[in-house]
């Protein structure tokens, strides 16, 4: 009975949740290690998250993202490292004493309790007066638009309604940090998209800090302000969705996030660049000749590189474009191998004369197919140096 009374710090009082001091991140994960037997699920991972952020942990299954989330919630204890919340190490604090709440993938609604009792569960444990619990439940029910369903049991609700109850229940205690474990995985596509927008709206309005775990990059890109891409227990890159997509830091990230064309080649630092080619590099590739790319911000350390171009940045034309513009300097000839019509865009596979296959995605900006290409047609694929990313091998 006394777990909570001894720890007034974990009251569900909204304003009691102390705002982080300026300069100190709300959450600091410091060299955290978690092993299961010989398997290193989370490997010396460090990450700072500021108050008010919507942060997504993205990665393939088994990359350790859920383990990391469970350590933040307190269900797993790190073997090494610290987890600082508002500067206080919470790594060893059990889950019921953390000002952190979690929304489970399975929702974990209590089947023997009604919607309002589910939402009130955490408030009762926080020993709030009955009148305040009632008011808070009402507020939460309104927040997730569940009015009229308060008396129902979880098994009398649809999947989308259950998801809302789970969200309301985890928000009811007004946690400083809300952890969401694949919160939308069980919803169908249409509902998922509308719920994504609602979650973002809710997070902005309440000014809370959300950390979401997902394997769906579309979802992470739509909702999160920053994304941490995880693989094998480590963070490969932490960046905004645009930076992640347009400036991946490694070949692994480039291939994991979205579609990409990769052309391997060598960079010769000795050759003097062409005067018209200031701030550009020439990469000699085996299968696509010389490709001109924009000079990367950091000088390349290794000669073995890989040129990465997103499919939508590769343009097609029937005849080679005029040489009047540096943007058309990279041009590769080939034959359309196959065509995939996706509605908003059409995806082409182009087999170059060297045998290399490139993918190009062209937005269907007109209703009629006058400028579509058909399999077997000869085309020129061209792209601007600025649209290429050079990655070290």
């Amino acid at each position: 009975m006394s777990e909570d009374t001894r720890h007034p710090a974990r009251t569900a009082n909204s304003k009691a949740a102390t705002r982080a001091a300026p300069g100190v991140p709300l959450l600091r994960i410091d060299a955290v290690v978690k092993t299961f037997g010989r398997f290193r699920a989370v490997d010396a991972l460090s990450l700072d998250i500021a108050a008010g952020e919507f942060f997504a942990l993205l990665g393939p299954s088994g990359c350790g993202k859920t383990t990391l989330l469970r350590m933040l919630a307190g269900f797993e204890t790190p073997d090494e490292g610290r987890i600082l919340l508002n500067g206080e190490d919470i790594a060893q604090i059990p889950p019921h004493r953390r000002p952190v709440n979690m929304m489970f993938q399975s929702y974990a609604l209590f089947p023997h309790l009604s919607v309002s009792d589910n939402i009130a569960f955490g408030l009762k444990r926080a020993k709030l007066p009955a009148s305040e619990i009632k008011a808070r439940v009402k507020e939460m029910v309104a927040l997730v638009k569940l009015e009229g369903l308060e008396k129902r049991r979880p098994d009398q609700l649809s999947g989308g309604q259950r998801q809302r109850v789970a969200l309301a229940r985890s928000l009811a205690r007004r946690p400083q940090l809300l952890l969401l474990d694949e919160p939308l995985a069980a919803l169908d596509k249409k509902l998922r998209e509308s719920t994504q927008l609602e979650l973002m709206e809710l997070q902005r309005r309440l000014g809370l800090t959300f950390i979401i775990v997902t394997h769906d990059q579309q979802e992470a890109m739509t909702m999160a302000g920053r994304i941490g891409v995880m693989d094998a227990g480590r963070l490969e890159q932490v960046a905004s969705p645009r930076e992640l997509y347009e400036a991946p830091r490694s070949r692994w990230v480039a291939e994991f996030v979205g579609d990409i064309n990769l052309i391997e080649g060598k960079f010769d630092s000795d050759t003097e660049p062409h005067p018209a080619m200031a701030r550009r590099l020439a990469i000699a590739t085996g299968q696509a000749g010389t490709i001109h790319v924009a000079e990367p911000r950091q000088p390349l350390a290794k000669a073995d590189v890989c040129v990465a171009i997103r499919p939508e940045k590769i343009k097609l034309s029937r005849r080679a474009p005029a040489f009047d513009d540096m943007r058309t300097i990279n041009r590769l000839e080939g034959v359309i191998a196959d065509v995939g019509y996706l509605g908003g865009a059409t995806s082409y596979r182009i087999r170059l004369d060297s045998g290399l296959v490139l993918r190009s995605s062209i937005a269907n900006t007109a209703r009629l197919d006058t400028d579509a290409y058909s399999p077997g047609q000869r085309v020129v694929a061209w792209f601007a140096p600025e649209d290429c990313v050079v990655l070290e091998q």
Binding site: M1, E3, D4, R10, A73, G74, F75, P94, P95, H96, V100, N101, M102, F104, Q105, S106, A108, F110, P111, H112, F121, G122, R125, A126, R153, D155, Q156, R169, S170, R173
Partner: protein
């Protein structure tokens, strides 16, 4: 009801009838003869409730029945508490040291011959100089029935999403509170079913009880057995019929409880 491909063939019906008759005919005969007016067990002398009245005037028999009920209720309660705790330990504490040994030892009484269980307990009680009577039988029956409760409860625990308990902890419950507030209400039907199972097992046990009981505290099966050795009186039929009725009642109740809990877990129908 049954039609088309589901219809029972003649062979099925014959086999079913023969099987049921083999199992239940002796009991049916026993029940019918308990209403026999004749003094001779095997001769039918018309309908009567005489032997039921006889039983209710047989103080020794009443005492034995009362003893059995008390032993049954007490040992079932103890077995339910211990069995539930061990089921929780086995299904929730995945990796504690000696888990395999613990589960092996817990389930040993399921396959252990009762004579051995009874004899070893008798030796123990003699060795520690425990006065044999009510409590020794209770302890013996608790060791016998605890594993059955554990099996029933563990099966139920296996179907409960672990994240329910985690969620309760996340919302401010310590581990014990989380168990009481969330897990226990969900496993309660199987805990009740386990109690009833333990109660019936205790009620009909003869072997272990006869090893561990003392003078003046005979249970009903012991009493019946000693009466029968002097010749079967029709009164015994009446007592047995009552025991059969009681056990049938408990079993029906147990299956109702688990049905209701299943319905609550699956369908939308509120109770």
């Amino acid at each position: 009801m049954a039609s088309g491909p589901n219809q029972l063939s003649r062979f099925n019906v014959t086999a079913l009838t023969a099987g049921l008759a083999f199992l239940y005919l002796p009991i049916v005969i026993l029940i019918i003869y308990s209403f026999n007016a004749s003094r001779l067990v095997t001769v039918w002398g018309g309908w009567s409730l005489h032997w039921y009245a006889e039983f209710f005037h047989d103080q020794a028999m009443i005492d034995a029945a009362w003893m059995s009920l008390r032993v049954g209720a007490t040992s079932a309660t103890l077995a339910t508490i211990l069995g539930t705790l061990s089921a929780v330990a086995l299904s929730r504490g995945a990796g504690f040291r000696g888990r395999t040994l613990f589960s092996g030892m817990l389930y040993a009484p399921l396959v252990m011959p009762e004579v051995i269980t009874g004899l070893s307990l008798l030796l123990l009680f003699v060795a520690i100089d425990a006065e044999r009577g009510f409590w020794t039988v209770v302890v013996a029956h608790t060791t016998l029935t605890m594993c059955f409760v554990s099996v029933v409860v563990q099966a139920r625990l296996g179907t409960i999403d672990r994240s329910l308990e985690e969620s309760a902890m996340d919302l401010g419950c310590g581990p014990f509170r989380a168990f009481v507030a969330v897990t226990l209400p969900l496993i309660l039907p199987s805990v009740l079913a386990g109690w009833m199972l333990a109660f019936t097992l205790s009620l009909d046990d003869l072997v272990i009880a006869s090893f561990t009981t003392g003078p003046g505290s005979a249970t009903l099966p012991i009493r019946i057995y000693s009466e029968v050795r002097l010749g079967v009186k029709p009164e015994i039929n009446a007592i047995c019929t009552l025991v059969v009725a009681l056990i049938a009642l408990v079993i029906v109740a147990a299956s109702l409880v688990s049905k209701i809990s299943d319905a609550r877990g699956k369908t939308a129908a509120p109770l």
